[in-house]
């Protein structure tokens, strides 16, 4: 009897072994042994990792979430793009306030986290499950990072299918949008009213990805953002340097911002900005919901293209 049980155990181990067959080097430079096909993925960054995992149809069991002003919790980005909420998956932690015990109680077989918030917790997270650190702003193009992530969790084929559909949509959009504009340049910015600065974005989710793929070029200042970084903070006196055929920015609905908030922000940061920006004169300063354009997501890219086409029609 004992022999039989040992044989059963040995067989179980033999079958289980291939589940941990891949080594992945994450963005922290750690080599992590991950399951070939993870079955219980826990994401600790909602609007990058949760969005990508959901879009890749990978088995996501829990995500970090945010607290709304009324005390409820929501999944930033994934709520807007996929209608994902905490009825469908479990709450892993409130963003930036990790609860290791809660994470452990969810019994994940793979944890994915962003290195900016969870780098110092890697050692503890790794005692719970294999943990991969993702850096959304290491200067690489968002869809290159997305492809890499799909490989980490064994969803390369799904990514390739989504990418093919996206490439087709870009080709169609190029034909629909004004050619003069597509041959021009663009600036992607954030206006920081609090400290009176502007952030010039080199890589910012699907916003910069789509405009690059449409064939638009960047301003000289945007090209000067150092390698390995995705953004650069500049003073308001450089407002003229961000001028381009198209200026795009974004707003955060949960902070009470609206698409037109950019104009009051620019007026406050750089009074008289209208004189310096021909994009303003041509009515080509557009603001989009950050929930939709920051996540690296093909659904987000579709929504961005829809809105861009509507604005330029």
């Amino acid at each position: 009897m004992r022999l039989i049980s040992r044989l059963v155990l040995a067989a179980a181990f033999a079958l289980a072994a291939p589940a941990f067959a891949r080594d992945v080097t994450d963005h922290g430079g750690y080599v992590v042994e991950v399951p070939d096909a993870p079955q219980r993925i826990l994401s600790l960054h909602d609007w990058t990792l949760t969005v990508m995992t959901r879009e890749l149809d990978a088995p996501l069991i829990a995500s970090a979430g945010r607290l709304a002003p009324d005390g409820s919790t929501f999944i930033r980005g994934a709520r807007e793009l996929f209608g994902l909420d905490f009825d469908a998956i479990a709450l892993a932690s409130i963003h930036g306030k990790p609860d290791l015990e809660r994470i452990r109680s969810l019994k994940p077989d793979l944890i994915v986290a962003n290195i900016g918030d969870y780098g110092p917790l890697r050692e503890q997270l790794s005692t719970i499950a294999p943990t991969l650190m993702f850096d959304a702003e290491n200067g690489d193009k968002p869809f290159d990072l997305y492809r890499e992530y799909a490989g980490w969790i064994g969803r390369q084929a799904r990514f390739d299918a989504l990418k093919a559909a996206y490439d087709k949509r870009i080709t169609e959009a190029r034909q629909k949008l004004p050619k003069t504009l597509m041959d021009g340049n663009y600036s992607a910015i954030l206006a920081n009213e609090r400290d009176g600065t502007l952030t010039l974005l080199k890589e910012y989710g699907v916003q910069t990805t789509v405009l690059d793929d449409l064939g638009m070029s960047r301003t000289a200042l945007a090209q000067s953002v150092p390698d390995g970084q995705s953004r650069m903070t500049i003073g308001a006196e450089l407002i003229g340097e961000i001028d381009a055929d198209l200026i795009v920015t974004s707003y955060l609905p949960e902070s009470g911002e609206k698409p037109e908030s950019i104009f009051s922000a620019l007026a406050r940061i750089a009074p008289g900005y209208e004189i310096f920006l021909r994009a303003h004169e041509a009515k080509r300063i557009f603001s989009f919901s950050r929930y939709e354009i920051y996540p690296p997501s093909f659904r987000g890219a579709d929504i961005f293209l829809d809105k861009l086409e509507a604005e330029l029609r």
Partner: protein, 344 residues
Amino acid sequence: MRRHFTIRLGSAVHFPIDLRPALVLAVLSILLCIGMLYALQLGSTALSMNDVIRWLLPWQDADAETSAIMLLRWPRVTVAILAGAMIATSGYLLQVVSRNGLADPGLLGISQGGMAAVVIGAALFGLSPAWLAFASLAGGFATALFVMALAWRLSSATGLILVGLAVGIALSAAIEIIMVRGGILQFARWLAWSHGSLTSVSVGNAGMVALWAAVLLPLSLIASGQMMPLLLGHEQAAGIGASPRRLSLLLTMMAAALVAPIVAAVGPISFLGLIAGHIARTLVGERPGAVMPVAMLCGALILLIADTVGRTLFLPVIVPAGILVSIAGVLAFLIAARLSRSSR
């Protein structure tokens, strides 16, 4: 009623013990033990006290589930107790040296010096976590020496605090510049760390802090026996044969060394040194030999309670212990300032 008793070992060795400090120490020790048990029991995952006690007893087998949860809890509880004691000791040492009850490693810029060294070491030179405590120590030492040198000529306790505050503000600004230049993600990481959270404490951190505590806490207790003359002021202390300047320098260095590993492991915990020192003096009077151990236990208890409350009371939100201690600290600071003004 007798206020002290003496333990006699033969005819040569006598230990006179004051009754009040002994009683206070006993009560605080019991409270700390109870607090530790509850801190180990409470958390997102429910555990019974029986599970905790079985896990603590080496001859009992704890189940795997309890052991796995404890792997997340015990380093945190250990660091809360040791860090609380070390910060409280550091604060009290600085209060004696500066002859100002409002002194604290944060107010004298020592914490910021340690933070600046950690940030520069990690962000600019990519130092590994094992070396960050030493970087923090070097930063804390350098800042302490700098502040003392600047305040030397002022010859007043308030001058030391003012110089410390100014240096601390300048260092905080320098840290922000470094972090903003490092990009938004690095800045977010810095913000989380600067709140003084024990969430990221690992077994390795607990070992490192325990090692420093094992050396520095007994040394501080020994040093407390030599600190009485400093309470009289430098001139009077020198008049009775003490070396106040040398002693002040040594105690300041010791204060910097006590906060160095804590800054490296959990970030700065503001005001704890101030609160613990005040509570200890209120409980047992001014004699450093009595105040020091009581301050250690008060600091340990306060940080343990703050961390346990922060990670259990507001779930699913985890509130960093540093924030809760700061709230309590600001209130204590205002009360202390009010009391010191009315006593003048």
